[in-house]
Symmetry: C2
Subunit: 153 residues, 2 copies
């Protein structure tokens, strides 16, 4: 993601936060930028290491955990539960609303691709949930895959 795209995401993030009364503080913005630039899933400790290396400051682990949680709550990053890592949402700067995500995670090189689920597909999943008497809270699907490159070799 290029510099100007990152900036567009940050601008959009600021706008969305202020609209919903959330505070995108300096630290939070720094972490978000770092996530956008990384374009790969990062664990809180990896974020700490990256931050400390770049900023020549010292962020304690608990701050990283808190900030990543905040960004996930604000839907600016997604939490990949299967890996306990976070990745920047690839649609921050999109204006149009988007359906739930399907995360394709390469088990070998750990690349992650976020693709949208068609509303129809989501509805079918939802249907299974309802007929079991459950209510869906957070539709997110993480799939163990091989990416194109890794499946060739």
């Amino acid at each position: 993601m290029g510099v100007q795209e990152v900036q567009a995401c940050l601008d959009s993030a600021h706008q969305r936060c202020s609209e919903s009364g959330l505070r995108l503080t300096q630290k939070r913005e720094q972490i978000l930028r770092l996530m956008l630039e990384a374009e790969a899933p990062l664990s809180p400790y990896e974020v700490v290491d990256l931050y400390n290396a770049q900023a020549e400051q010292s962020m304690p682990p608990n701050s990283a955990y808190r900030i990543l949680d905040f960004l996930a709550e604000a839907n600016l990053v997604h939490k990949l539960n299967s890996a306990n890592k976070y990745i920047a949402c690839s649609h921050i700067a999109c204006s149009h609303p988007h359906s739930a995500s399907q995360f394709l995670i390469c088990s070998q090189c750990k690349t992650v691709k976020e693709v949208m689920m068609e509303p129809k597909l989501l509805k079918e999943i939802q249907k299974n949930v309802s007929s079991a008497g459950f209510k869906m809270r957070h539709p997110s699907v993480e799939l163990e895959c091989l990416c194109g490159d890794c499946s060739e070799s």
Copy 2:
């Protein structure tokens, strides 16, 4: 799950293992029984505690990890990645083959319900994967839900 059902699962598990050349040892069977009786997701350390309490023996954590991995490989238990816990497969004693599972996890009381996905639904998910140039390895869908009881209160 009643005693006789548990026994049916264990019998079925023994049969399936010997058919595929896997060794369902005494320890592994003990852990599987424990999982079947629990009917709830358990972490390796929870398994250790339960085992040590019941058996008055001492199983080290690494053994629990290994045994749970084995049982998951053998498809006798499922690994819930989002919680890093394991739960006994609810279809061990079924003779008919079954499609991929959809796990409904109650965020409040942690109840887990394992429902089957219709092959059609699985195919649609698969289609998204393919068109992104990925290959699916392990189709498992874990959904953050509220169960019937918890959504009432």
